[in-house]
Amino acid sequence: MKKLSKGARTDLLTYAGVIIAFIIVSVLKANGGLNRSQTGLLVPICCYIVMAVSLNLTVGILGDLSLGHAGFMSVGAFSGIITAMSLANVIPSAPVRLMLAMIVGAFFAAVIGFLIGIPVLRLTGDYLAIVTLAFGEIIKELITCLLVGVDSEGLHIIFNVSGSKTANDLNLLEGGKVIIKGAQGATGTKTIASFTAGFILIMITLVIVQNLIRSRQGRAIMAVRDNRIAAESVGINVTKYKMMAFVTSAALAGAAGALFGLNYSNLAATKFDFNTSILVLVFVVLGGLGNIWGSIIATVVLYILPEALRGFASYRMLIYAIVLIVVMLTTNNPVLKTWREELRSKFGKNKNKEAKDA
């Protein structure tokens, strides 16, 4: 291990951590060691981990604050649901359909990410944040206008801008099925998402994101983040590398969305609103900007927290908010920071241990 750079070691430990966690949870699940609530949390946690890691690519590595990440999740979720539902008769195997749905979800999210990226990535700082927020809301509103159904003749799609059309206007043949009912979202989806698929998606995401970061392209992306003018002056194509990170991030969010969408029989576009974007951003910020394993741990802890707090009944969300504030304050408190530094220098080996914790 000594020969590996610090970065490569962290990467390997991240993979190892995820694999070990997956094995432990799978064994527990198989032996009935998890109750229903805990089992039910597995797939959404996987989805949000992928969301957080991919958003970390935009916010932490590329350095652009995106407030519309849930929009890409939404595109992925609904295109994934349409794929899986319309192919239900053609491909009976659920895992294959799930995989196809995630690929299609990633593809459409990437396309939307590219289109949005063209105007958005010309901006920086606050302006970029505001425009991504707006795009997230636009995607939500557009999907709210969508009516989709499938019958033996294929897909029927109506774009219901006036708001006066209903699923009956799709004119489905006998045996047809409405997949998306406008504002009510997708109802009656067959749930085919699985924890194993979630684990595989996390691993793929980690391979893509971590290799991108350590590659020549990744260094170029971080150079753009650290100093755009200096990066341009040494011949880095800023637009190209920004777009690369942004589209990769969008595609991964789309795949996560497809997995999420196929885990619930009912899903409305309003689920992927500004609040969801902020939720994922909170995971990323509390896990540490640019810190991939930090995003994973923060997602797991912060997603489980509101569920674990159910015992507090109505004070649940209040306590959740207080915990968030306390974490924010303690991680940035100068006194505690010095204290931690002292601890670290006192026990010289602590540094190694920190890495292992990953």
Binding site: N35, R36, S37, T39, G40, L41, P44, T144, G163, S164, T166, N168, G182, A183, Q184, G185, T187, G188, T191, F260, N263, Y264, S265, N266, L267, A268, A269, T270, K271, G294, I297, V301, I304, L305, E307, A308, L309, R310, G311, F312, A313, S314, R316, M317, I319, V323, V326, V327, T330, T331, L336, K337, R340, E354, D357
Partner: protein
């Protein structure tokens, strides 16, 4: 840094898990989920209050039948949080569900409950999708189409010459559902719909555009298949622009007189279809309203009444099916599915409620008009 964080969170979790779980062998475990925090919390809390009163009354009775009640927060979310709340209830040992409160969560939960064979009776989830193709899901409230049809029929009978405008919320299954069947029935009955305006949750604070358009189209009756909070804004803004058509709401309009900071004079003359009126003079309603006011210091709305009835309906069904508290949720579910279409229950939201096998309730909707701040039967 990470360690401090992990420590704090671990402590918080230990705390939560250590919360005491009451244990009783002779009681049915009744669970319900609904929004207890967030924007829709008023509905969830009302339902839970209603169920709690009914459960306490049932447990105080001397017939050996007991409920143990637990509620969970689903934040009116239609995705992961609805399932999380349901799973938490199942871990607690829920045998029958008096939920969910909202339609969106209900559709998600009903699909899972159907696969796992858990019986659910939703007090206020009125969407047809909630009960469609699921033999385990029943409703206390009217389905949306039912209300749309009843409203259109009422218009045809009493306001045959009216020019009707509809303002509805198109990102809400409830509102959209009522509007769809209303427009269809109105067409069949020859009621003239001259304008349709939509809004969403995000745009529910300004209705000047819709009201101006309705006025421009010559509408003299506005149908509002929406909840009372946006409806109160519509009444205020219509008044401010000097537009005074008749307003007609459905059960979501119930509660309009309780909106804080709303001049209830504006609601004078508003018609609504409602299964429950807190001013009704039967003994059952009066006892419920008195108890509710005593405990929670406010007048119960129809959500509380639906919750209250749900507990009594479940008791009647469980007794009719001869279920015992030691039966599994799946066994109880099958037994209840058998008896639900055969029982008839009197409650505060209707006399002689019966159910079809598909889960729809049958009871008479009642049209009332607001006069001097109370609901009265309209005279023509």
């Amino acid at each position: 840094m990470k360690k401090t964080l992990v420590l704090i969170l671990a402590l918080a979790m230990v705390f939560a898990l250590a919360a005491p779980a009451a244990f009783a062998d002779d009681a049915f475990k009744l669970g319900s989920s609904g929004p207890l925090t967030g924007g829709a919390a008023i509905y969830g809390i009302s339902v839970m209050n209603g169920i709690q009163i009914a459960v306490d009354e049932i447990n105080a009775m001397d017939d050996g039948f007991k409920f143990e009640f637990e509620s969970q927060d689903d934040e009116a979310d239609s995705g992961d949080k609805a399932i999380n709340a349901y799973n938490a209830l199942m871990d607690w040992g829920m045998q029958v569900m008096a939920g969910t409160v909202t339609s969106g969560s209900g559709i998600t939960v009903a699909a899972q409950a159907f696969d796992e064979r858990t019986f659910m009776l939703t007090p206020s989830g009125s969407s047809v999708d909630l009960i469609a193709d699921k033999d385990n899901a029943f409703q206390v409230c009217f389905t949306d189409p039912n209300q749309g049809v009843a409203s259109a029929d009422y218009f045809a009978d009493h306001f045959a010459d009216a020019k009707v405008a509809v303002i509805y919320r198109n990102d809400d299954a409830y509102s959209q559902g009522i509007r769809d069947t209303f427009v269809k029935e109105a067409e069949a009955k020859g009621v003239a719909v001259v304008y349709e305006g939509t809004f969403t949750d995000a745009t529910s604070t300004d209705f000047n555009v819709q009201l101006t358009a309705a006025q421009g189209a010559g509408a003299d009756l506005i149908f509002l298949p929406i909840y009372y909070t946006p409806a109160s804004v519509i009444l205020q803004q219509a008044n401010a622009m000097g537009y005074a058509p008749k307003f007609f709401g459905v059960d979501g309009m119930d509660g309009i007189l309780t909106v804080e900071g709303f001049d209830t004079k504006l609601a004078e003359g508003v018609f609504l279809l409602t299964p429950f009126s807190a001013d009704a003079d039967d003994a059952r309603t009066q006892a419920f309203v008195a108890e509710y006011q005593k405990r929670f210091n406010e007048t119960p709305n129809q959500f509380a009444a639906d919750g209250y009835d749900a507990a009594y309906i479940l008791k009647a069904a469980l007794q009719a099916a001869g279920c015992t508290p030691d039966m599994s949720a799946a066994d109880i579910c099958e037994a209840l599915i058998e008896v639900m279409p055969t029982i008839s229950v009197d409650g505060v939201t209707g006399e002689g409620m019966t159910w079809s096998a598909s889960g729809e309730v049958s009871k008479a909707p009642m049209a009332v008009v607001i006069k001097d701040g109370v609901y009265v039967t309209p005279e023509f």
